[in-house]
Symmetry: C2
């Protein structure tokens, strides 16, 4: 970021007012601090303005992202935010986005939208320019303002409605080429987040509404994060909850298993009441919720097909995680059964559903991967007030398939077999996708192959939140006094404070500011008339990594160099101050 030599930023004229109190609408630390420290201001719900200090952080992040994208060979372009409807109609996303995009009409009544992501337009663009396999691969990117009409914009910059992303798109003729483009991005993202000083994990992810196959998310570890993920300390495995694959236990022998028996269980429509009944009624058996088979009824509709009633059987000690269920059936839709559905299917007895009832009603019966052949279950007998005991999978019922829909819990075995999972929270800061040919199919993006025949192109899509990153870093790098910026993104290298009214000290501070500036450091110069106490508090709130105080020590020939992160303060002789400060900044 270019500074102008000779134009030192003085707090006496800087457009900055710090606030003593937290803003009323702020819940998370980064939001509170960025507003209190005068980095950002709210303009509308989920829409923020960048004030001078905030903009400097934002631009430094942008520059780092740009450098690393250029280094991997990606080419920067810039597409508009105001987009026509047609390409999104072609891909089907005009409808799919629902209320999540801002839609508008121009004065001629043409439908337009504010772009939330640009797969369609990049696909169209490449189709317009390129025609031969020799033109590929190509990776294009932009750093651009995006819009999403979030239902609940929250946490300041963490979930906004207008925000800046780096989005890039790779175009290859082969799957191996796509793998390579994907790997280039993965490595570039690691370099970017490392340079930004962010603590993050890479988690396996499902692809969400974007379609496609391989996909990973970069999550900044953060208590206030909206995304829950799991990881295994022993093995380093980490995944989005939606992407966790349940380890399948071995099948059990069931030759000596007793035959299933239907019992009158009375009013036992819940797992708790069923377990209580079993422990009382089944002599000598100790029954737990995990011994029961909970059957949850939903209906699932594949694109262009009818709704199919589906029973999902999971161990009774778990709930169905609807997000995992949705991710498993995508692109099909899933809904809970309505009263009308039950009325239309008398074979389905609410509270007493069993595998057979579902299949008898013409439905599909899917089970959790733990429900392997030979496992024995207490479950519904498809009659009010009745359950069946010792129903053996693979003997007494045959599921139509397996589905990942049960909740994932801390302590569950890691899918890689090397330990157990723990859960944690994070903020999505990057997402890399192998889209495959979804968009190339929609737009018929072909190039002529080496043999003269058309080859369908395969694509990747890679997002990185640039404006969000300002808040993510603030979230990870602050203390109770204020922000603590890493050097790479701090608005200024040095915060120079005059804390001595003596004429010589003031003149000396001025000279120091000029010399630091001339040495190429970015200096924020607190030349205000305020008291030292007010200035020190502001310096802590604003969070520059190095604070230099021209204070009481001036008379004895020293200035104080403070490290914002460690709190360490060192008296440095004025004579060697420039060199000492440069050393502190350059580390």
């Amino acid at each position: 970021m270019a500074t102008l030599p000779g134009v030192i930023t003085r707090m006496s004229t800087l457009f900055l007012r710090t606030l003593r109190d937290d803003p009323a609408d702020a819940e998370v630390p980064s939001h509170k601090l960025l507003v209190r420290a005068g980095y950002i201001r709210r303009t509308a719900p989920g829409v923020y303005s960048w004030l001078p200090l905030g903009l400097r952080v934002f631009r430094k992040i942008e520059d780092i992202v740009r450098e690393e994208m250029n280094a991997l060979g990606a080419q920067e372009i810039l597409l508009p935010a105001l987009l026509p409807r047609e390409p999104y109609e072609t891909s089907g996303r005009w409808t799919e986005y629902g209320d999540n995009v801002f839609r508008l009409q121009d004065r001629k009544g043409n439908d337009m939208m504010l772009g939330p992501t640009h797969e369609e337009l990049f696909t169209q663009l490449v189709k317009g320019e390129y025609s031969s396999y020799k033109d590929l691969p190509v990776i294009l990117y932009q750093i651009q303002t995006k819009y999403r009409d979030e239902e609940r914009p929250r946490a300041g910059l963490l979930r906004g409605r207008e925000f800046v992303m780096k989005d890039s798109y790779s175009f290859d003729t082969t799957d191996a080429g796509l793998d390579h483009s994907y790997d280039l991005h993965r490595a570039a993202y690691q370099r970017i987040f490392d340079r930004l000083g962010v603590q993050y994990v890479i988690v396996a992810a499902t692809s969400g509404a974007m379609g496609g196959s391989a996909s990973e998310e970069f999550l900044a570890e953060c208590e206030v994060g909206e995304d829950t993920f799991v990881r295994c300390v022993e093995s380093g495995y980490a995944a989005n909850v939606e992407a966790v694959i349940t380890p399948v236990p071995a099948e059990l022998p069931y030759d000596d298993a007793p035959a299933p028996v239907v019992h009158e269980t009375g009013q036992t429509p819940t797992i708790d009441t069923l377990v209580a009944w079993a422990n009382q009624a089944l002599d000598g058996r100790s029954v737990e919720a995990a011994d029961t088979l909970k059957n949850v009824l939903v209906k699932i509709r594949k694109p262009g097909e009818d709704w199919v009633i589906t029973g999902i059987g999971i161990p009774g000690d778990r709930e169905v995680d609807f997000k995992r269920l949705e991710a498993s059936v995508e692109p099909a839709e899933v809904e809970l059964l309505t009263d009308d559905d039950f009325a239309a299917n008398p074979a389905l007895v609410r509270g007493y559903i069993g595998p057979k009832g579902v299949q008898a009603a013409g439905g599909t019966y899917l089970v959790d991967p733990r429900v392997v052949t030979g496992t024995r279950w207490i479950t519904g007998a498809d009659e009010a007030g009745k359950h069946v005991v010792d129903l053996v999978a693979g003997r007494d019922f045959t599921p139509d398939g397996v589905i990942e829909a049960a909740q994932v819990r801390a302590g569950d075995p890691s899918p890689d077999g090397q330990g157990v999972l723990e859960t944690a929270r994070g903020i999505e800061i990057g997402h890399i996708f192998q889209l495959g040919r979804k968009y190339a199919d929609a737009f018929e993006l072909d190039v002529l192959g080496e043999n003269g025949k058309p080859v369908r192109v395969t694509m990747g899509s890679y997002g990185l939140g640039v404006s969000r990153m300002v808040a993510v870093i603030a979230e990870q790098r602050h203390d109770d006094k204020g922000l603590v910026w890493p050097r790479e993104v701090a608005p200024f290298d040095v915060h120079l404070v005059i804390a001595n009214k003596d004429q010589a000290a003031v003149a000396g501070a001025q000279q120091l500011a000029e010399e630091l500036d001339a040495a190429g450091l970015q200096v924020l110069f607190d030349d205000r008339k305020a008291s030292p106490g007010v200035k020190f508090k502001d310096a802590e709130l604003l969070g520059m990594p190095t604070v230099v105080v021209v204070g009481r020590g001036w008379a004895e020939g020293t200035v104080e160099v403070r490290d914002r992160a460690t709190g360490e303060a060192t008296a440095v002789p004025i004579d060697g101050a420039i060199e000492a400060i440069i050393a502190a900044v350059r580390g």
Copy 2:
């Protein structure tokens, strides 16, 4: 603009395809060439995408604007484009903008708009942060994407619907302070446009819908420009047509003027038919259109008042220029009379209107500044088929006022009395305004003055078209072969072409590219397999200022250095090639 040492831009992989033919929708040279040369692509009407070369020019212009804004002491911030309705409701512009803004609603039904300019939000922002006269003056700016729903987007980037502007706003407590902030901008704009190599004029302007007083436009001289301006070669005077002030001739004696006589003139509803009648009917008189007084009827409505019928009397050899009329009455609205209006006012006889009829109908009668006391006119007698001859201004009728509404013509005397005006066309590239207290009044932006009493702030608003400038420069700097970029904004310093298949030449060119890059030059390296002819054509179309050819001369130990602007080509020994090229680039 940062280049990455070691990452040389190669045309073999650059996302660039030049086109042989002009795009069908392009009319002006800059539009044709920027599309043909692969700098931009159209995404929707008036909405463009920047490809790699175009983006580089755009960023260089942005950087120059930023440098000069910082140098004048302005502070950069960044506001959103997606804006709430309320502030624009407060200023009255939510309604005033009419169809010219993009409006939308969010998922909760809140009205929002895409910002066309940000006076309201900057005013609010300063009100939120500042409270004392000691805080001022301050100048804030942003370089930001703006939206206008133009009725006829045209000429590529010259009149787009999504575009980037630098807009700045000054806040002062005194008029003298505002003058100073205005002068700072005027000087900065001159530096910016000089650095960009643009030929421009500064013209006096009316303030348009922005309100306020002093205002000047920076127009790039350009045949395809939409703005007509006038200038006086002798004096250097230049003005927007709307801002031209008609020199007032001296009053004439009328003691010996004959009394007015009403004549039956038959079917003479137009000036032409009236002049023909007069030359035939008035013995010995030679009558010209300029001897007749044309009365045009409009109605004018001041904000919050009723429509007032208004007659405008101008010499019959001129038309009313509606834009000048609108500018004169602003902020009042003006419309032509409807049939209903005539029906309701029988004193107004179409084709035969005279000054008295207008006033008899209760209307206001305003005249062109040339209609001074003592001038004699042939004009309508307010009866069908009748005109009056020798009607003397100030004797036979007394106008209610003077108005600038007549068209300005080449050959008119310059307002400064030093010659005559000529007309020319230009593209608006900058506009500086003294807004005064219009927005401060709307938002009650006060600061506490030195005496403890509130002082209303006075503001300036300053716009500069950043994305438009790419097209303006292309429009002024091209020839029949392609673009001819000035060095300050060219995408690359040097276009290095391999035009020799010899292995040694190819290797030599590669080494030359690396050495030029290492020397800090930005190199576009044409390493494609295409023929020399194709490459030379592309080099001319793309328009880098210096083209270096590794061609036939290689065997004799020379490369060719071509100047794109002059066409001059020089054979340079390979040994000193780097130094010679650097000298050519650095000028």
